[in-house]
Symmetry: D3
Subunit: 132 residues, 6 copies
């Protein structure tokens, strides 16, 4: 099947210097044998690859919320914004972390409920009344 990608990505074999360094880190950290397209696209402007990878590590790997909770939040957001690439990617991460099919389904009912009620209250002009 022809790809829909609109630009040409950096080939893994062409990577050198800091791009190669990030590529290697990505493969090691995600434990995948190839560099996902996301990073090959970012590498078109090496500064973007470095900057995004740094932010990704800062956000996902530091702080007090655990990785599983963060990946759950990220998957919820990706479902809410309809992104097949990251629905697939975050689900893959969660499965490795031991999340079951039943829990993934359960998470999506939370998304269904939350986004449904979001639209409901905004469609009727409700104003916040539950505060700390």
């Amino acid at each position: 099947m022809a790809t829909m990608a609109t630009i040409r990505f950096v080939e893994e074999s062409q990577a050198t210097g800091e791009v190669k360094a990030v590529f290697d880190e990505v493969k090691a950290m995600l434990r995948v044998p190839f560099v996902p397209q996301l990073f090959r696209a970012l590498a078109v402007n090496p500064a973007h690859l470095v900057s995004t990878w740094d932010q990704l590590k800062t956000v996902m790997m530091t702080g007090t919320l655990d990785l599983r909770t963060k990946a759950i939040a990220a998957l919820a957001v990706s479902a809410a914004t309809r992104c097949p690439y990251f629905v697939s990617a975050h689900t893959a991460v969660l499965k490795r972390l031991g999340v079951t099919d039943a829990e993934l389904e359960e998470l999506m009912t939370v998304v269904q409920l939350a986004i449904g009620l979001n639209a409901y209250v905004d469609g009727l002009g409700l104003e916040p009344d539950l505060h700390r």
Copy 2:
């Protein structure tokens, strides 16, 4: 300030029968001294109040994901879809569950990263390449 609500809600003092029963349950479960507008709006059609409250309890109170994780996912979704009512409400729930300001900020960086990368990959036409 005048309310922006587009319809007239059911007054708490007017509730009877199954509407009153749900109102009482809502106040007890959320431990608030008043019935939030959401439920007073749903009560305009009592069957909607009952049906949504049942679904809310089923989704949030059963299953294997804990309430804190679910409320985090719900807040992430509400941030992603820009709903002030539920950003406020889910944050209130999370604070009662002991989530700190620093963790709420941390969660929003996860949302920022996730939704940002969602749009990035879709804007370049990337197709899923990270599967189970």
Copy 3:
């Protein structure tokens, strides 16, 4: 309260020519004693006012779907995309057309259900299986 508007609109008293003509038509058609901000903003570039007003009349006033059904669809969309300006405006139109508070609430449960299930199926990667 100070307005949040980011640009200066055309004052009704300053309108001349085709702008004034559209302004008059807008007030007559919507039966309001003032020109809503939407049209005063569009008038900053008169061609945009004319073009949008023409499209609005074509879409809302011709065809076989009745105005009430169209305004219901427009309100559903405005709830789904969180637009207070048009939630308010489309609701006002529907109330004039005789739609009740209970029906507006009912419509929002349809939006709640639809948008909730939309996210649910996309979050699990479902593909269309119900066709003509």
Copy 4:
């Protein structure tokens, strides 16, 4: 083509008890010879299937708005939120109810107009000025 679904659904042949009861009701009500993936996904947690099916029936089958109007609102929402699964499903329902291709196109111009103007007014910071 391989499916993109991220979890394993309940097979129709494996359904028993209340899951089978809902499956049978779904097929009868939608008049389809198979159980759509949506319901087979929900059945992973039987309580979710029952709860969502109950809500679906309450929302779509009771009240004073007719089914055609509700399905039109649901399709408008699904277009606004970009959900191929439900664009396809709600369109299928509407075609059975006699809605023509020309009316479906007409509906999408309403969505186009509504969502376009939603973003226009929010991008210029307009505040509601059309009330009841």
Copy 5:
């Protein structure tokens, strides 16, 4: 692969009168040897084709912002709202205008940053503090 389109479009060979006139103008202006589906769908109701084409020309071809800037804004919006059809179409236009793969990638980092920070501030309830 079977098309997902939900309605039957107007065939180019069937176009007459004002529909044919717009079709010819579209092909000439976009310099494509066929009429894109968008216009064949609009043609189902000829008034919609004329109205949308007029608006498209007014918006994209008049005013003081140049076409390249407008197409960049349109692509940014299409990425933000996840529309493969227009991600593809606006990208094609930009490539003809000389925009490079590196610039398209750069644009998507702008979208990533903007939409990410949008959700971040809304998820924490921030209010505008940067005005003119």
Copy 6:
């Protein structure tokens, strides 16, 4: 009016070390006499402030697209996703760069057109047919 912010931000007077360094840089670069809430919120976790500020500078200040074009794309995205905070902030930046009210209005008609047609084509199931 009471703020809607859900967490307590870092006060400018409390900033030390790298937080103070970024705060000073922000004020100098944006030429504002105070630190916008966005950065005071990020500072709750200093690593997030540093990481986001670095990314913001990388994305907005490097590459070949000029700042005006990028701010236009960012404003278009903020209108599309309904973010009052950044509609206000990006508009302020653009006004300083000399963009007029008429051009801001013109930009919003581009957003209106783009997002409207996005929903239109997705609501009818169209597939990309305009490629490079």
